[in-house]
Symmetry: C2
Subunit: 426 residues, 2 copies
Amino acid sequence: MPNIANDPNRKSWIEVPENSDFPIQNIPFGVFITKDDVVTIGTRIGNCAIDMGALQQLGYFEGIELTDDMFMQDTLNDFISDGKKTWRLVRNRLAELFDANNPKLRDNKSHREVVIFKVEDIEMLLPVQIGDYTDFYSSKEHATNVGKMFRDPENALLPNWLHLPVGYHGRSSTIVPSGVPVHRPLGQTMPADATSPIFGPSRLVDFELETAFITTDANVMGERISVDEAEDHIFGMVLFNDWSARDIQKWEYVPLGPFLAKNFASSISPWIVTMDALEPFRCASPKQEPTPLPYLQQTGNKAFDINLEVYIQPENGTESLVSKSNFKYMYWTMAQQLAHHTVNGCRVNSGDMMGSGTISGPTEDSFGSMLELTWGGKNPIKLNDGSERKFINDNDTVIIKGYCKNENVRIGFGECSSKLLPVIEK
Amino acid sequence: MPNIANDPNRKSWIEVPENSDFPIQNIPFGVFITKDDVVTIGTRIGNCAIDMGALQQLGYFEGIELTDDMFMQDTLNDFISDGKKTWRLVRNRLAELFDANNPKLRDNKSHREVVIFKVEDIEMLLPVQIGDYTDFYSSKEHATNVGKMFRDPENALLPNWLHLPVGYHGRSSTIVPSGVPVHRPLGQTMPADATSPIFGPSRLVDFELETAFITTDANVMGERISVDEAEDHIFGMVLFNDWSARDIQKWEYVPLGPFLAKNFASSISPWIVTMDALEPFRCASPKQEPTPLPYLQQTGNKAFDINLEVYIQPENGTESLVSKSNFKYMYWTMAQQLAHHTVNGCRVNSGDMMGSGTISGPTEDSFGSMLELTWGGKNPIKLNDGSERKFINDNDTVIIKGYCKNENVRIGFGECSSKLLPVIEK
């Protein structure tokens, strides 16, 4: 079925500001709550949020096989479970419905009034119930930087790193949408000069610039997904801030990996941008040397050219750009990550989320964490207001932005913004 | 409210065979499906499964504040969310209802016929929808054994081990109830004499003898649960086999912890034994030296005397006992684990599961994995049929049993049994 929603010549009868992340070629999916406390699945064009539950009740999805309440739910899990063909049918239908030349909804004022909201009048919720969340570690630059700082500068990459996309399990219960503030964590740390650990607020709270992808039901337990089939089971992507407490992490992570240093909070952008929308931005991924084992060998362009930016905004201040990176730098692709994750028969469900790992680029201004940008706190960053940061201060807001752009169209993610509040002392 | 369900003198009008794990003093909770495809929450006395959904419809829980369909659900999550007071009221009610001296249901044949099933006529399902699953590493003997084998025999415990209950996140999607077979995983391993990794079926599939506890909604994000309050948020316990592929684990686990070596499958016993039922079996936990930080300091007996056994049963053979251990050997208690898990503000939800980590005792026959029992495969175990095992063979069934016993009563878990099927080659 053709992906007609990507037609770069289409214009919408909804106004789309210049440089908007959400032209009619995007059509992302999310969940929001209206002022009247109605929760619905929706999409976004320009600065308008569109109530797909209302659209469905008004018959605008007729002809597409959907359960009656598909879009009147508080998560996208069931829709995602319906599979790629349905995602494409629905996205195509929305493109046609909001096409400048289609009068059907455009000229129906009473319908428009119940379907279209200003984005400032709604609140975005978590788009999926995340069953399991996995985080990978797939940027060679990031793994090298961390290896240089914490292990051996001469052998920064561990022996397995070039052979498999290293990953680990994270915690779903503390993943929150953009806009929800998070608290500095308490925890146990071992100061450099101490012989026993101390307890208190983490002193080294950091962001990690990541993206994440959302899967559909992909396999039954015991069976695997091939690298060639993997992309068919990916619904879309979000921006992801994997909040990290570096001092807690350093003390706890050997031998079983990061735990409390990560699971106090993670933040995602609320609109899931579909793989269909990202299709025009495919590009080559870095050459893999040595060649991976056959189950990880891929053909074609499986990377995506997504510009990524991180800003820090102090309380009552303006935002300062602290990193510019790109998703295309990732050594391991999403297809390889999903093939690896399931090669042992691990079941993947609709709504599962898999993070990329910190996305650091080749230059110092493209590193994806304060740990790397300040090289462990040695080289503080200066913000626009003249203040310095080694890590994130209380009441700072960290904002991740991401977008793809070519001569025809800009497809963006909006932002993943979250404020770090002080520790709750009790 | 008194915990009258524990009265050791109570007898049931349902016959309870000698040495049954399920006397009327147990009253565990589970979910099962009947021959007629009805899914319900239930309990067990002797060899009878009791349909609590039917009991509720017949009015037997009148006077207890419950939603109308509380027990007509396919998971215990909502019931667990109701909290400790409700759990106790329901368990007390069931004790009274099945008391030998209570004629109400005993003498109502038509009611009995729709409420009581033989256990061989039902199929046990997963009792909860597990949101997040965490596995700890809290047996000092196990951590020491592993440290001796893989790291430094002179410094087997890592520096953080005595200061905090080391834990990591696992995967919920592949946790299955007793009786569901699991497949040997495929994966990437690095042979000792090789310079590049190979791909194929794991050659070193192992069990891990564990228990796990199930939590209720315990806190909001950012807030913590004190060690003194922690037990109030634990609903009950199950037996747990944390299937492990040692060769995959060895190659993948540095630096972010075990991943595909664990997430192909984990098995649990299907009846959740409540903390109320386990109350008579409290005992002291090992002395902790050095004294942990204040947030981990506990008073009173927070360990439980639970006898644990592991059997291997070859295809068409009889079961051979390969390990006898006890939950009381655990260095870190469940209360400490939960306090540590939430000290950073990590939210815990109803139905979350936390594994103990491998429960190895002080003697060689009490080790909780083949890795330790055979000391890395050096000392194979002989089974009753004369065959030897270094690790688990295809078509072997691993059976974990667990029970508490004092002069008055035996409270057991039934079993966690799962067969290892060959790899699915495709």
